[in-house]
């Protein structure tokens, strides 16, 4: 009986996860329509941009025909979407090379920075959040509260500038610019990205720690927690074994939201440290009106966001026996 119920539970969880995945795909499709339509609404197009101010209307029309821009919008949309799916989102007009190649150069840098930041920020945020929840109202809690609040309040360009001032100018420990090339070893790479990671961490740790604290405290007054204490469970075990299984869903949700910031929101950090990431690439695409590149970047950010949300939701489904078993 128990085996059967856990089996049907897993099946239910699988169904829910599949549904959730399908709705993510649908969202991504709707986003692609939105991105495409907005790109169409912007004045000018690739033909105009390529030929410049002095081109005649006939020249532009001819080039448009050649580039396929005179076809109806839905055909061009289908064409573009097909290209995105098959890994060929078109030609970058400014760099004059395929968008896929431009992105392939930058995306690994962005992913690496985001991953390293998450690796630092998530454990620290969990420790701060749980630590202050366990000392609720105490001195440690208040100190951590003030620290995280001021971290939220300080803008990241200020954090970055102060970090440069301390670690590069005064102490001369770290380079002020993050140089990245393909043949670097980890030993060369890490000092360069240390300050970008530090700056990004400050922003996301504060958010995640506050959400963790709130989620843990929300559970602390439940009768099952008092019951665990009265069974003689040690305080740390009460949090890890009893509270965390129930608090994990909101915590992962908050973390997914914070971490989604690490790809698209890293633009300021990338600019200050001259780090070759995807966010600064997208900003460049906006200023140079490189529509294919802009569209591809927007789709990547959106897909990353949806993926993180999907992970959060699946975690919530797996953590909750009620959802698992329905």
């Amino acid at each position: 009986m128990a085996g059967a119920s856990s089996q049907s539970g897993m099946k239910a969880a699988l169904t829910l996860t599949t549904q959730r995945f399908a709705s993510s795909l649908l969202t991504l499709l709707l986003v692609s329509v939105t991105i495409f339509v907005i790109a169409q609404l912007l004045p000018g197009d690739a033909a105009q941009e390529a030929l410049g101010q002095s081109a005649t209307a006939e020249q532009i029309a001819a080039l448009r025909h050649e580039m396929g821009l005179d076809r109806p919008a839905y055909v061009r949309y289908a064409d573009w979407l097909g290209g995105m799916v098959s890994g060929n989102p078109g030609q970058s007009m400014v760099a004059n090379m395929p968008v896929a190649e431009v992105i392939a150069e930058r995306l690994p840098n962005s992913l690496l920075l985001a991953a390293l930041t998450a690796l630092v920020a998530v454990p620290v945020a969990l420790a701060i959040g749980i630590g202050s929840a366990m000392n609720r109202g105490g001195r440690i809690d208040r100190a951590l509260n003030i620290a995280t609040l001021s971290m939220v309040a300080v803008p990241e360009f200020l954090v970055a500038t102060i970090a440069v001032l301390i670690f590069s100018v005064k102490l001369r420990w770290l380079p002020s610019i993050a140089l990245v090339s393909d043949d670097m070893t980890w030993g060369e790479y890490l000092p360069g990205v240390a300050m970008p990671i530090l700056t990004l961490s400050v922003v996301v740790i504060a958010q995640m720690a506050r959400m963790t604290r709130a989620a843990v405290i929300d559970q602390m007054d439940r009768p099952y927690v008092e019951m665990a204490v009265l069974k003689g469970v040690a305080p740390v075990q009460v949090v890890l074994k009893h509270i965390m299984p129930n608090a994990i869903a909101p915590i992962v949700n908050a973390m997914a939201l914070s971490l989604s910031y690490l790809l698209g929101g890293a633009v300021i950090v990338e600019t200050i440290f001259n780090y070759p990431g995807l966010a600064s690439l997208m900003v460049n695409a906006v200023t140079s009106r490189d529509m294919p590149l802009l569209q591809a970047c927007a789709m990547i950010f959106c897909a990353a966001y949806l993926l993180l949300m999907l992970i959060a939701d699946v975690t919530a489904i797996l953590a909750n026996p009620r959802l698992r078993a329905q």
Partner: protein, 607 residues
């Protein structure tokens, strides 16, 4: 050594801190002692400090409270002198706790077995496999279904009564010398309570553990306790042997508690002989539930089936049944919150639109709903005056001074001082809130009020006062009432007519006189027989909840008796094959009731 009490509490003081930072005692001057194997009951209303005292026997005080003085000795351990680590060593090991609401005291994310064996694991008393074997033995002893596999389940998959027994298994896994039971049956239906009490008595008490039983219910305590301590406002009012407290209480407060536990039967007010007009409220063949309505005309989750009832002008109808029987759904259908799948609700002979949409403001005004929990039904940001003025403006267009005068009248009606008019809801006691809740309904000047378990969340003494008030209002204003309750003694005391609901079907209906003498429908019989009597030995004598006779597999007719799986009077070859007829019971001169059962007067009497 042998005549030294096993548990001894002397001069116990627990203090709390108010928002201004001053400490004040919430419990003081508590002394009691128990011999090994004795059961002591702590009894009192909410706020009496009974749970606070019980928790100190685990060396625990809730956040904000502190054990400030006195001595608490369990065996050779003086709890007030132990540090946190040493206390953790005792808890869940030598001293075990059974919490009030097992449904919320079990961790929702972990399996039952994980939690039941946890005390044995953290105190390193036995191997996991040995603990699981012991747990299964306890499940079996506590009469739990599927003892071998129930441990793999999660709390939400089990009923409240099962969880309460599983909590007992969790407490007993370490063979504790002292068990603290904190209102372990308060949240349960009366028919479940009797099963849990039997299981507790058989397993907890007969293993020789000393126990402290916290309860507000004297009749329950009478079944369990050797000694009783009566508490009020954190002080002992009376303490002594159970028999003495129950039969010869010396203290006035104890006598008040005893009186409130037995509601006085109220006379039915004489009805004016009206010409045979339509009844005030009539429900005809209502079937209702949740989800889409299928081809068979039933909703996906049917709750009510074929309900028929009438309430006369100024009459009182009691609706009783267990939780989940559909009692509250009847009120929701009448109020229009849940449109029925089929059937009609008639007010004064006129059919009411099924949902909220079609109803006029006048129709809303005439039917008012009083919710169970005044804490959540009243906006905590509003004052008493604001809450009562709102329906006056909405239904009668009263404003300014006229509204103010009417609010004062209403406060007078519910026996609250006019000075409370500007008080916020949060500043009122539970009983005062429930009075305001009632006054809010009365402000609309309704013809009928639907009261959904209005006294269930209140202490017995406060609840008795609310019932007294409702009886007065009925005499003075002639408002008809539908009184929904799970407590048959309350319903029998105040209602003219009674409807017994089981799993959404009416199993017995009749005037209250019909519910005073047997025979009853087997379910009514179970309900009445499960109400604890205030004497020792009742639990052993009561036949309620006895195992039903064996029976063959049930047929697939949709209208078979729904009480069949639990019925003590079921007949193989009849009840499991043929749907029961609805027919009258004669009951001699006591008045007749109609039941849904194969049995008649003669065959039900031996029950």
């Amino acid at each position: 050594m042998s005549d030294r009490p096993h548990v001894e509490v002397q001069g116990l003081v627990v203090t709390a801190r108010n928002p201004a930072g001053e400490t004040f005692p919430i419990v003081s001057g508590i002394d009691f002692a128990l011999k090994r194997g004795e059961v002591l009951a702590l009894i009192g209303e909410s706020g009496s400090g009974k749970t606070t005292i019980a928790l100190t026997l685990l060396g625990h005080a809730r956040p904000g409270a502190t054990i400030a003085g006195g001595s608490i000795r369990v065996g050779d351990a003086e709890l007030t002198k132990l540090d946190r680590g040493a206390l953790a060593q005792l808890r869940g090991n030598r001293i075990a706790y059974i919490a009030q609401s097992a449904a919320s005291a079990f961790n929702p994310s972990r399996t039952i077995m994980d939690q039941v064996v946890e005390p044995a694991m953290i105190h390193r008393l036995m191997s996991r496999a040995a603990a699981e074997r012991k747990a299964v033995d306890l499940f079996r002893a506590l009469a739990l279904p599927f003892p071998d596999t129930i441990g793999a389940r999660y709390p939400h998959q089990l009923s409240g009564g099962q969880l309460q027994r599983l909590m007992a298994a969790m407490a007993l896994i370490t063979d504790p010398e002292l068990v603290i039971l904190d209102e372990p049956t308060t949240a349960l239906d009366v028919t479940t309570q009797i099963e849990v009490l039997r299981a507790f008595k058989a397993v907890v008490l007969e293993r020789g553990a000393t126990a402290i039983y916290v309860s507000h219910d004297l009749a329950v305590v009478a079944q369990m306790a050797d000694q009783i301590v009566v508490l009020n406002h954190g002080r002992i009012r009376e303490a002594g042997a159970a028999a003495q407290i129950l039969h010869a209480p010396a203290d006035d407060y104890t006598r008040t508690l005893m009186a409130a536990a037995r509601p006085a039967i109220r006379p039915i007010p004489a009805k004016a002989d009206l010409p045979a007009a339509a009844p005030l409220l009539e429900i005809r063949n209502v079937t209702a539930g949740y989800g889409k309505i299928g081809k068979d005309g039933l909703p996906r989750v049917p709750v009510l089936r074929d309900i028929n009832l009438t309430i006369e002008r100024g009459g009182t109808l009691g609706v009783i049944g267990e939780s989940g029987s559909g009692k509250s759904t009847i009120a929701r259908v009448i109020a229009g919150l849940l449109p029925p799948a089929s059937g009609q609700v008639l007010l004064d002979g006129e059919p009411l639109p099924p949902g909220l949409d079609g109803r006029s403001r006048e129709q809303f005004r005439r039917i008012q709903l009083v919710f169970q929990n005044a804490d959540t039904a009243l906006n905590p940001a509003h004052s008493v005056g604001q809450i009562l003025a709102r329906p006056l403006a909405f239904y009668a267009g009263l404003k300014g001074n006229a509204a103010h005068l009417r609010v004062l009248e209403l406060l007078d009606l519910i026996r609250l001082p006019a000075s409370l008019i500007d008080r916020n809801i949060g500043g009122l006691s539970g009983g005062q809130k429930q009075r305001v809740n009632l006054a809010r309904a009365l402000a609309a000047d309704p013809q009928i009020i639907l009261c959904d378990e209005v006294t269930s969340a209140l202490d017995t003494v406060v609840g008795a006062a609310i019932l007294e008030l409702m009886a007065e209002l009925r005499r003075e204003l002639g408002i008809a009432t539908m009184f929904i309750s799970h407590d048959i003694s309350t319903v029998r005391a105040i209602c003219d007519d009674i409807l017994v609901l089981y799993s959404g079907t009416m199993v017995e209906t009749g005037p209250r006189s019909a519910f005073a003498t047997a025979p009853f429908h087997p379910y009514t019989d179970l309900l009445i027989g499960s109400v604890p009597e205030m004497r020792a030995g009742w639990l052993e004598e009561s036949h309620a909840g006895a195992a039903p006779p064996p029976i063959g597999a049930a047929g697939d007719h949709p209208d078979l008796c729904r009480f069949l799986p639990r019925c003590a009077a079921r007949v193989d070859g009849l009840c499991n094959i043929t749907p029961p007829p609805r027919h009258g019971l004669d009951k001699g001169s006591a008045g007749a009731s109609r039941i849904l059962c194969h049995h008649g007067d003669e065959s039900l009497i031996p029950l």
